[in-house]
Amino acid sequence: MSKPTDLVQGTLDLLILKIIALEPMHGWAIAQRIRQMSGDILQVGQSALYPSLHKLEQHGWIRSEWAVSENNRRAKYYTLTKAGRTALGREAAQWERLAGAISAIVRTVS
């Protein structure tokens, strides 16, 4: 497997928030979903995923609870909170601005 693309600092939080905004999900599923949705470009390892999840929970943006997973095992599901939804909106807008700005520069130069 190729080395996963490094994520821009802080964008993993945004991705996690966005993914679980659709439905509550456990850690492994979040990692899978990020890979699928990015067309296998973004691969998130445990080393980045779980600390990030715990930090978001500590911020109060996501909430966790134990539930039975699709293969009938206990798994920890993360849900977006109200504060998390607000944060997602803010972070997403921020990202749009940043991405737009970067592409503008990159295009001009090339």
Partner: protein, 880 residues
């Protein structure tokens, strides 16, 4: 909302640490298992899939740590962690830890225990209504600045004054209590009817005395103390209205005082009776037997009251020149009356304990300095590895606080025990006089004091290494190892601390030595009697049963005869007042000399034949009393040498006649003998001129029996038994040997306890300061290892190395001792009246203490000096 969530999560990760960790474990394992399944589904063998998945999850433990970190550094978590680390660090150097803890605990224990006494006696307000407005009221004569009032004077003062809202009278009274086993002596007090109202004490049960109930002819009533009400009446309410027979007369119980009621000047009185003047003394203006206590009117100062009372006294002087000549008035705050005697000794002890605490603190501070010095490198490594300065400093603060906390726990527990022990060491009859000590204990003020001391110590010990670290430059510490500018700076501060310690130890040692010397001097005072094999027993003869003087004389004679036939008894005699306790005075004039009404006040005692012999007193001239000196023979008197010096300096006293100044009708008394001075008042005061009259010619119904016996202690129970067998209605009290009486007299007892306590503090301070000196010298020698190595390599002899180290120690000691001597002379003068026969400038004491300190200091510095001299130069040079 969010705050609440965060708080909940933080608390959860703190308190449910185990569960959170387990959940994290489970979560990560779930992830790995799903990963394996996915790989198997993609076609890998289970074994390969497993290996791949675990490889990806490499460092699972580290993941967990990161997750924990992401949960945020919990402040409480940090503190717990720091305290654990501090405890581990302290455990790692047990010698340092135990020295610091024991030192500090000792200082705390001593100062808190002594403070508890100071609090009970000096700080806690007296348990009366607005106690600051209460004053003691006394008459003032030349010989006694605070003497008793006579009852008629009291009545006039009460009537004429404009400064007191009330003026009450009180007098200690021993009352013979009728019990089924015969008479027992009850501690009592006679008071005016407004006594309790003046103090603001309200009976807990029954009623107070009503106005007029202290008059001559008023019915006999009594108010009980809470203690006697509980022990004799079972604390039952129906005690009110019962009668109790006091000194032969029935009295009705009308009230019970609250449990906390106390009045130290009358001791722990159980029976409070209204004054009801009856005896001749009560009615005579020249007979002084009572004390006054008054409440100042609002806005009236003590000085204004004193001025008003002096004016009244002057008026009475003019009105009654015979009895009141030279009688002024003295008004003093009641606190001075009650705790004035113990204030100096308590302040001295508090000062001593405070100095000890200071030395202990300085010692621990310098220990901490040495320690932080030796850990400089560790700190530098930590800083280099990324610990923030704040974090490193915080670790030191935690260590200081933990150290103080341990010491405080031990010290305060010790203080509680020490308070109990000290109370037990106070003789019972002295304790009875210090009723204010009843509230002694670990109350809020004592706890506050302890807390303040502990807090200051904690701040100090937290700051000490911080100050030190502030000097330290991390990089420098790493590159230069243990040497450099910091070492020098510390050495300067450390040496100053040691000088201060030595000086303070010197002050305490000199204080202890001066007190010990005073005690020795007091014990050396010739009491004019031979205390060994001498015992005394107080006896009270009920006036209701022995109504006439003849009856009293007869029973006294029977007692003496009965006692003298006991085996082992050499001689026996009796006196109206025992020696050492002061006593009654009388005004005399010499027959045949011009008399203008001057008050020749002399000590006055009625004694029996055999009394002086029993005491072992020495006759200078003339003869002792014999049993023939009875009412049928001419009245005679024995005087002491002080009397002769005062009144017969230029002519022979024997054969001269004396008259009582106040009683012109009594026949003159012939001086038949001169006895060498017996210490009638305290050992540390001058013997007053004294006259002794013959007991049969001038009997009294309360007296003390003195018996010289082969085995002093063994005879006491037999004596009590013999007296009781003669008549069970005779009550006995204060059975003790003369040695005990001397030991427990305030002059000896106060000095002995002060000498022991201050001496104890001094020895501790001495040890601490010498250990402190050792620390500084050893550290400084350690710093110079390399220098000494170079010197020795260049040919220096061992002797010169010794000199090098000892010179430094000697200089420190010398400065400490010189500063200490200066301070000790100043501090010694604060000892005031506790010093006896010695001054604070006592050269032998100062020299001896200085010598002891110097020698011990040199011995202490000899150890590091020898270590330095035995350095192997090769190793010393290579070692660095």
């Amino acid at each position: 909302m969010r705050l609440a969530t965060m708080l909940r999560l933080r608390l959860r990760s703190l308190l449910l640490r185990g569960r959170v960790d387990r959940e994290l474990d489970e979560e990560l394992r779930y992830h790995v298992e799903r990963e394996i399944e996915a790989r198997v589904a993609a076609g890998l063998t289970p074994e390969a899939a497993r290996r791949a998945a675990w490889r990806e999850a490499a460092g699972l433990q580290q993941r967990k740590e990161e997750c924990r970190d992401m949960r945020g550094l919990n402040p409480i978590d940090t503190v717990v962690h720091d305290v654990r680390f501090a405890l581990r660090q302290l455990r790692k150097s047990p010698v340092f830890t135990s020295t610091a803890v024991i030192t500090l605990a000792l200082g705390l224990c001593a100062s808190v225990a002594i403070f508890a006494f100071v609090d009970a006696a000096l700080i806690r307000p007296l348990p009366y209504q607005r106690p600051a407005r209460l004053v003691g009221v006394f008459e003032r004569v030349a010989a006694y600045p605070r003497s008793n009032l006579s009852y008629p004077d009291y009545l006039d003062w009460k009537r004429l004054n404009t400064v007191f809202s009330s003026l009450a009278a009180y007098q200690r009274a021993s009352l013979a209590l009728a019990t089924p086993e015969g008479a027992r002596l009850g501690a009592g007090a006679r008071v005016s009817d407004d006594f309790f109202r003046t103090l603001g004490i309200v009976p807990a049960l029954g009623r107070d005395f009503r106005p007029g109930e202290d008059g001559p002819g008023a019915p006999a009533i009594v108010i009980l103390s809470d203690a006697i009400w509980r022990s004799r009446y079972g604390g039952r309410a129906d005690a009110i209205g019962q009668t109790v027979t006091l000194s032969g007369a029935p009295a009705v119980i009308v009230g019970v005082l609250p449990a906390d009621a106390q009045f130290a000047p009358v001791g722990s009185a159980d029976y409070w009776v209204p004054f009801r003047p009856s005896s001749p003394c009560d009615l005579r203006r020249s007979c002084h037997g009572i004390y006054g206590v008054a409440r100042l009117k609002d806005g009236v100062s003590v000085q204004a009251a004193a001025a008003d009372m002096s004016a009244i006294a002057a008026r009475l002087e003019r009105q009654y020149p015979d009895s009141n000549r030279g009688q002024g008035a003295a008004i003093v705050p009641l606190t001075d009356v009650i705790v004035g005697d113990v204030r100096p000794i308590l302040l001295v002890l508090l000062g001593g304990a405070g100095l000890l605490l200071l030395i202990a603190t300085v010692n621990v501070a310098s220990l901490l300095l040495v320690r932080s010095e030796s850990r400089k490198r560790e700190m530098a490594v930590r800083s280099a590895l990324g610990a923030s300065t704040w974090r490193v400093v915080w670790q030191f603060v935690t260590e200081g606080v933990v150290l103080v906390a341990i010491a405080a726990a031990i010290g305060l527990a010790g203080a509680r025990v020490a308070i109990q022990l000290l109370v037990k060491l106070i003789p019972a009859d002295m304790m009875a006089r210090m009723t204010f000590l009843r509230g002694l204990g670990f109350n809020a003020r004592v706890a506050g004091f302890a807390l303040a001391v502990v807090a200051i110590a904690a701040v100090l010990f937290a700051l000490t290494p911080m100050v030190h670290l502030a000097w330290a430059n991390g990089r420098e510490a790493l590159t230069h190892g243990d040497r450099g500018a910091v070492g020098t700076t510390w050495r300067r501060l450390g040496t100053k601390l040691v000088i201060a310690e030595l000086a303070m130890a010197m002050v305490l040692l000199v204080g202890g030595a001066l007190l010990t010397k005073s005690l020795y001097r007091v014990l050396q005072v010739d009491p004019g009697l031979q205390p060994d094999h001498l015992v005394s027993l107080g006896i009270s003869v009920p006036r209701t049963k022995y109504k006439t003087d003849e009856q009293t004389v007869r029973i006294a004679r029977s007692i003496l005869d009965g006692v003298e036939t006991l085996p082992g008894v050499t001689t026996a005699g009796l006196t109206s007042r025992p020696p050492l306790e002061g006593g009654n005075t009388v005004w005399i004039r010499v027959a045949g000399r011009p008399y203008h009404g001057e008050h020749n006040e002399v000590d006055y005692r009625e004694v029996s034949a055999g009394y002086f012999e029993a005491l072992g007193a020495r006759f200078v001239a003339g003869r002792d009393f014999s049993h023939a000196d009875d009412p049928s023979h001419p009245p005679v008197v024995v005087v002491n040498e002080a009397f002769v010096r005062t009144y017969f300096a230029n002519e022979p006293a024997l054969g001269q006649h004396l008259l009582y100044a106040s009683n012109a009708t009594q026949p003159p008394l012939e001086i038949i003998g001169i006895v060498a001075d017996v210490k009638e008042s305290a050992l540390d005061s001058a013997t007053p001129p004294a006259v002794y009259t013959a007991f049969p010619q001038d009997p009294t119904n309360g007296f003390t029996l003195f018996v010289r016996a082969a085995q002093a202690d063994a005879i006491l129970p037999t004596l009590v038994e013999t007296v009781r067998r003669l008549d069970p209605d005779l009550s006995t009290f204060a059975a003790r040997s003369m040695d005990t009486a001397i030991d427990q007299s305030p002059a000896v007892y106060l000095r002995r306890s002060a000498a022991w306590l201050v001496g104890g503090f001094a020895v501790l301070a001495w040890v601490l300061s010498v250990v402190g000196l050792y620390g500084v010298v050893a550290y400084s020698a350690g710093q110079r290892t390399r220098e000494i190595g170079v010197r020795m390599a260049l040919g220096a002899q061992r002797g010169s190395v010794y000199r090098l180290v000892l010179r430094e120690a000697g200089a420190l000691t010398l400065i400490g001792v010189v500063v200490g001597v200066a301070c000790a002379v100043g501090a010694g003068s604060l000892l005031g009246d506790l010093l006896f026969g010695v001054t604070s400038r006592d050269i032998p004491t100062l020299a001896a203490v200085a010598a002891v300190l110097c020698v011990s200091a040199l011995l202490a510095s000899f150890v590091p000096a020898r270590r330095a001299a035995s350095i192997n130069p090769v190793q010393a040079l290579r070692g660095e």
